[in-house]
C-alpha cells in the first residue's frame, strides 16, 4: 500500500509538471462520498477526472469494474486490490446506473 502510494505520488508529480507545462488544469470536482480521496489520487495520476463525469451515469457497477480493471491490467495503473475495490464501489454508487 505504502509503495503504491509512493508510486502514485511520483506519478502525480510528473503529471502535475506536465499539466503546468500546458497551462493550469482546473480541478474537476467529484462527488464527496466515501472513497472520494482514493479516486482523486489514483485516477487523476494519469487523467483528468472529467473522464469519470462525462462517462456517467450510464455505466453499471460491472462496467465500471471492467474499466478500472483495464486501467490496471492494460494501462499499468499502480493500484492495489483494496484501492481498486474502493474505486469501483465509489464509481458504481456515485457515477453508475443500477
Amino acid at each position: 500500500m505504502l509503495r503504491n502510494l509512493m508510486m502514485a505520488a511520483s506519478v502525480a508529480c510528473a503529471a502535475a509538471a506536465l499539466a503546468a507545462a500546458r497551462a493550469e488544469e482546473p480541478t474537476v470536482p467529484l462527488k464527496d462520498a466515501p472513497g472520494h480521496e482514493v479516486v482523486e489520487s489514483d485516477c487523476a495520476a494519469c487523467h483528468s477526472l472529467d473522464y469519470i463525469r462525462t462517462n456517467s451515469p450510464f455505466m453499471t457497477g460491472k462496467v465500471w469494474e471492467a474499466e478500472v480493471t483495464k486501467m490496471i491490467t492494460v494501462f499499468g495503473a499502480p493500484i492495489d486490490a483494496p484501492d481498486a475495490k474502493t474505486i469501483i464501489d465509489y464509481l458504481a454508487r456515485n457515477y453508475g446506473s443500477p
Partner: protein, 401 residues
C-alpha cells in the same frame, strides 16, 4: 510557488468567465457530459468543446462545419496519453525510417522532406474513429464525442511511398509501424503506436504532412509532421511523427491488436487491414458515408412563407459523394440538395438546401448522403462496443410560426 498559485488563480477566473457561455452540445449525449463539458481554449486554439483536460480531448462546435474547410485554430484535438511535448523544435526534429522490412535506415530533417521530395497537396477529412460515440444507444464507455471530432483541411507534405523508397523495401514487408513524440506518463502504459498495411502506405495519397491550410501544423494537431491517411479514420494519422518502421510481421501492440476494432463483417467497408483481421474483430479502416447539418442552429424559428438555407457537409471513405437528399416530412418525400464546390473525393463536400414551409409547425429536417459506390447513411445504429462508425441520420428541428 507563490507566482504559480497566482497564475493558477487568474487562469481560473478567466475560465470561470468563459463558462457562462453556453456549450454548444448536441442532444443525445450521456447526461454527465452536459454538466461537465466546457468551452475552453488550448494554447493556439479558439475555445472548443472540452471533454477532457488531460489528455486534451476537444471537439469542434458544429457551426464551424457550415464551411467546408475547418480552420486550424478550431480543428479538434484528440490524445490518448498525457506525456505530450510542450513544444517541439523543428530544427532539431528528425524522422527515423527503417525497420527489419527496410533495406536501409535513414533519418530525415524537415529540410530534407521539403527539398528532397515532390511536394503534394490534398484536401482530406480527418475524423476520429469515435466521432459520435456519445450518441451511441445504449451509451458505451470512452470519450463521449458529439459530432465535432472531425475536420477537413488542405494538407501539404510528401508521399510516404517516396520516403519509403529512399529507405528501400524488402519483399517480406507487410506493415508500416508509426510512432509519435507523445507517450504515456507510466512506463507500463502501452505507447500510442499504430501500423498500416503496406499497400495503404504505398497509396499515392498517403502523406507525411507538415502544413495544414497553408500554415505549419498546429502543435495540438501534430506539429511538426503527421501522417495523412485519406479515407481512413484519424487513429492512423499519427501526430508528432518520429519514426516509421517497415515490419515483416503484423504489429502486435495494444493500439492495433486490441483497440480500434470493429466486429468483423458488421460494417459495409471495402478496405480491410488484412494482416490484422480475426474471426471476431478487425481494425477500423475507411470512414462510412455520412453527413452533418451545420446551419441553421437546432430550434431555428421562421415565419410561414419565409425560407432558410440549410447547410452542411457530406463525406465518406474516399469514393466521393454522389448526392445528398433532404426530407422535412419524415421521409415521405426526399429532395436533392445542391452540392457545392468539389475539393476532391477525400474532402468534405459542402451542400445546401433552401427550406420553406407554408404551414406553421415543427419540422424535422433530415439529410442523407450517398456515395459513388452506392452506399448511403444508416437509418438505425449498427451497434458496436466502441461506438464507431455512427452514420445515423440526425434530425434538425425548425419551428415555423
Amino acid at each position: 510557488m507563490g507566482s504559480a498559485i497566482a497564475l493558477g488563480a487568474s487562469g481560473l477566473l478567466a475560465r470561470a468567465a468563459g463558462a457562462a457561455e453556453k456549450v454548444p452540445l448536441v442532444s443525445g449525449l450521456p447526461s454527465g457530459v452536459y454538466d461537465t463539458a466546457t468551452l475552453d481554449a488550448l494554447p493556439g486554439k479558439k475555445a472548443l468543446i472540452k471533454l477532457s483536460y488531460r489528455p486534451p480531448n476537444y471537439e469542434t462546435p458544429a457551426s464551424y462545419f457550415a464551411s467546408p474547410i475547418t480552420p486550424n485554430d478550431a480543428f479538434f484535438v484528440r490524445y490518448h496519453l498525457t506525456d505530450i511535448p510542450a513544444a517541439i523544435d523543428v530544427n532539431s526534429w528528425t524522422l527515423r525510417v527503417g525497420g527489419d522490412g527496410a533495406t536501409g535506415a535513414l533519418e530525415f530533417g524537415m529540410r530534407d522532406l521539403q527539398s528532397g521530395f515532390e511536394q503534394v497537396e490534398l484536401a482530406a477529412v480527418c475524423q476520429c474513429s469515435g466521432n459520435r460515440r456519445g450518441l451511441s444507444d445504449p451509451h458505451v464507455p470512452g470519450v463521449q464525442w458529439g459530432v465535432g471530432a472531425m475536420g477537413n483541411a488542405v494538407w501539404k507534405g510528401v508521399r510516404l511511398k517516396d520516403v519509403l523508397a529512399k529507405a528501400g523495401l524488402r519483399k517480406e514487408a507487410v506493415e508500416i509501424v508509426l510512432d509519435g513524440a507523445d507517450g504515456p506518463v507510466l512506463d507500463k502504459t502501452p505507447d500510442f503506436v499504430k501500423s498500416i498495411p503496406l499497400w495503404k502506405a504505398l497509396d499515392e495519397n498517403t502523406l507525411i504532412a507538415f502544413a495544414m491550410n497553408g500554415q505549419p501544423l498546429p502543435h495540438f494537431n501534430g506539429f511538426p509532421a503527421r501522417l495523412i491517411v485519406p479515407g481512413w479514420t484519424a487513429t492512423y494519422w499519427m501526430k508528432h511523427l518520429t519514426s516509421i518502421m517497415v515490419a515483416t510481421k503484423p504489429f502486435d501492440g495494444f493500439w492495433v491488436k486490441s483497440a480500434y476494432r470493429i466486429p468483423t463483417g458488421k460494417f459495409p467497408v471495402a478496405q480491410h487491414f488484412q494482416t490484422q483481421v480475426t474471426e471476431i474483430n478487425e481494425p477500423i479502416t475507411e470512414m462510412v458515408v455520412n453527413s452533418l447539418i451545420a446551419a441553421p442552429a437546432e430550434g431555428h424559428k421562421l415565419h410561414a412563407g419565409q425560407s432558410v438555407e440549410v447547410q452542411g457537409v457530406a463525406w465518406d471513405g474516399g469514393y466521393g459523394i454522389r448526392r445528398v437528399e433532404v426530407t422535412s416530412d419524415g421521409g415521405e418525400s426526399w429532395r436533392e440538395a445542391h452540392l457545392g464546390k468539389d475539393y476532391g473525393r477525400f474532402a468534405f463536400r459542402p451542400w445546401s438546401f433552401r427550406f420553406a414551409a407554408a404551414k406553421p409547425g415543427r419540422y424535422k429536417i433530415l439529410a442523407k448522403a450517398s456515395n459513388v459506390i452506392g452506399q448511403t447513411q444508416a437509418e438505425t445504429l449498427i451497434f458496436n462496443p466502441a461506438g464507431y462508425h455512427n452514420n445515423v441520420m440526425r434530425p434538425l428541428t425548425v419551428t415555423v410560426a
